[in-house]
Symmetry: C2
Subunit: 442 residues, 2 copies
């Protein structure tokens, strides 16, 4: 007998089917046992009337409990009272025969129970079976899909970038080091140099991959390994071309999530963000002046925001422009990596931008230096050695058009999109200083 | 003026357009200069009649050479003699005005020139601008897209797996080690344990990501960092369910490449593989007996093949069954990782399979142990500590259905699909023992 998915039972009224899944809940009502059974397509109500069950199955009926994996043969009936909260709520399965595919120990808590972050993280393999956690990563899978589909449509080519690198373009402080057959290698902090090289080849490229930051922060917005959604495009006029693609990507993500994941958003009590046609855009120093005026804190001498200042900006933007996003441009030259282009019309500042989403930076981007000699000069000015970048520089020796791009943190986007407490809840297997799956022994 | 892509010039006859791209070739025919200009959509012929050009552009006409980035305004005309080898061959652009967006040094060789592998690798940023190399990675991008699209359609959920891990499930020999905030961490050799955990959550999952092997091999089929295309699925009957999905994925890849990349295959003189309805499937020992009989070499005592034996099998399968693929099953228990299920009907052998493609293993898969206590026992039998796997084991404590999956090397698949000499030609930025981009100083 071929397996029927729970969702397809809707079209099988009066028929005998074979279904497979996990017990989500068991309810004993007198002699009748009801099971909610979960498979990848959703839930189905199983009705077990012991006397209608084959003898073998009757023997282990008592032991069936949450997270047992079962295979059940039975008849699909229309329910007298449909359950409107369930996609398959118009039908139920009356069981004839049950097979246990795998047993489960007694759950230490009900799925979805509140607990401390450490307990939550210690038991992800169990905790992820809860509907809410499943919803988070369903949404995350959708986000990556939309990101890719949208960029492919716009003529971008996907590339696989390397994670083992020999120099650290984003600065040496936050980089993991390893022994590589007797030489020193680093773990990539971004796909930056490689996606730029590939602009010379494909003009427009994107990549989705793991990057690593050896940061000692232990906050609700930092993790040491994350997924970066990057694109890079050539033949731009200025950073606005890059910004437009980035905002269109975000628009596509929001629109598609509204169409495909509204049930998941409802379950998570998450609100779809507002990304207005005219997103507020401020130079860093304008944003700093605004913070001084509105919140009374003087950060005008600083090269970047503190987290609470980003939150203030987010709140202000929501209140004032009804926007969940704020674009901040013109970060100072010395605080951005060497490959960022300076703005000739605003000396000391760069053609860079960040996008803050609900008060947290989720995107960094800008226009890059594409002139080879200017790039060499800037590398030296930053105290780096141009020979360490000779491989990269070759792409610029042979014709690199004006170009730019962005990097967006998948987990940060997911976290802010869903209003979760910590980015760790939006990271499938989060790594922090003290933990790789479990707490590390040091 | 908005930029027109080269390919769209076909629909702009008689109109003035702005195009942007790289010079691929320059031909001087008396006073007239012809350029082949490349952008992401393809090539376009540019006709430059100096007296019809604005004065400023005339000044630098002489210096234009391959890989300069240009912006050109001109009129699209129908060609008298269409170039049938070019997608835009029915039209050409008569230039009015040229702007140089970036200059290029004189190329050290013509793009596509033959050279030693080391020279090729030293200059990837330049060499990748050649059409053939671009074709390889266009095809690779298509493969990842088809893999994902096909599995999403089959109800699989995409996951992001971690690359920093705390234990090495595939065995400790080939693993890179690093210092992780004072603790020891490893680089993932596969997403194996995580995709299995997630079967408990989503039933069917897939992932595409980088994995690392600290192997000292220096062959045409080994690299130290590669992209693994993985899936894992629950509620299977036996390994054939897994094999079916894997073969269907391969079928989808071949079919879609035939539809979308036939020009690239032609350029690379590559032949689409034949994947028959009934792919030859042999137990390891049957394949070894066949090798003994056909090729006179006795490897019947070995737990796996040598590369030349895989090649023999590939040749034999092509000759005998007209199949570019061979499935080999039942590898011995002690030579497969602990998580593989033994075949109760064939003691000492596992429910595992490899798929050889044109004489090289590209897929490894099988059914996994899903019973928690059997798993714990096997871990111990393999001399590993079950407490090192307690996080993973939790997924099995709470109901894991019969499940299995596969891993496929993206670069190996691309390499064999296109009949390239070395896997390095199918790896965007290949790492080997002695090289990360450039040769390492040790």
């Amino acid at each position: 007998m071929v397996r029927t998915l729970n969702i397809d039972c809707l079209n099988s009224v009066g028929q005998d089917v074979l279904v497979k899944g996990w017990i989500k809940a068991r309810r004993d009502m007198g002699k009748i046992v009801f099971l909610d059974m979960r498979d990848r397509s959703g839930l189905l109500q199983i009705v077990i009337v012991p006397k209608l069950l084959d003898v073998a199955s009757r023997g282990f009926l008592e032991k069936l409990k949450p997270e047992f994996c079962l295979s059940i043969v039975g008849t699909i009936n229309k329910r007298e009272k449909p359950n409107l909260n369930l996609e398959t709520g118009e039908v139920e399965l009356l069981a004839n025969r049950i097979d246990i595919l795998a047993e489960a120990e007694v759950l230490p808590w009900e799925l979805g129970a509140e607990m401390k972050m450490d307990t939550f993280l210690d038991h992800l393999p169990l905790n992820y079976r809860d509907d809410k956690n499943r919803a988070i990563f369903k949404i995350q899978a959708e986000i990556t899909k939309i990101f890719r589909d949208y960029l492919v449509e716009q003529g971008f080519t996907e590339i696989q970038f390397p994670k083992l690198i020999s120099s650290a373009p984003e600065g040496g402080a936050n980089v993991f080091t390893l022994d590589y057959f007797g030489a020193k290698a680093f773990l990539a902090q971004s796909p930056q140099l490689y996606k730029q090289i590939m602009v010379g080849v494909f003009e427009r490229v994107f990549c989705i991959g793991t990057v690593f930051r050896a940061e000692k922060h232990n906050t609700n917005r930092h993790i040491n390994e994350y997924t970066s959604l990057d694109f890079e495009m050539g033949f731009i006029e200025d950073p606005r071309d890059v910004l437009k693609v980035q905002l269109d990507v975000l628009r596509a993500i929001i629109k598609n999530l509204q169409e495909k994941c509204s049930a998941e958003f409802e379950l998570l009590k998450a609100t779809f963000p507002n990304l207005p046609v005219n997103v507020p855009i401020l130079k860093l120093r304008e944003a700093q002046a605004l913070i001084k005026k509105e919140f009374g804190e003087d950060c005008t001498k600083e090269p970047d925001f503190e987290p609470h200042q980003e939150r203030w900006l987010g709140e202000y933007a929501k209140r004032t422009w009804n926007s969940d996003f704020v674009i901040v441009t013109h970060y100072p030259t010395e605080k951005r990596p060497f490959y960022i282009m300076d703005d000739a019309n605003d000396v000391g500042f760069t053609k860079s931008f960040d996008i803050l989403f609900r008060g947290c930076e989720i995107v960094t981007g800008g226009q890059r230096l594409n002139d080879c000699s200017a790039l060499v000069e800037k590398i030296k000015k930053f105290g780096l050695k141009s020979q360490d970048f000779s491989f990269y520089l070759e792409a610029f020796k042979y014709g690199m058009p004006p170009e730019g791009g962005t990097g967006m943190g998948l987990e940060r986007l997911t976290w802010q999109m869903l209003g979760l407490d910590s980015i760790k809840q939006a990271t499938l297997f989060p790594r922090d200083q003290g933990r790789i799956d479990l707490v590390l022994e040091k």
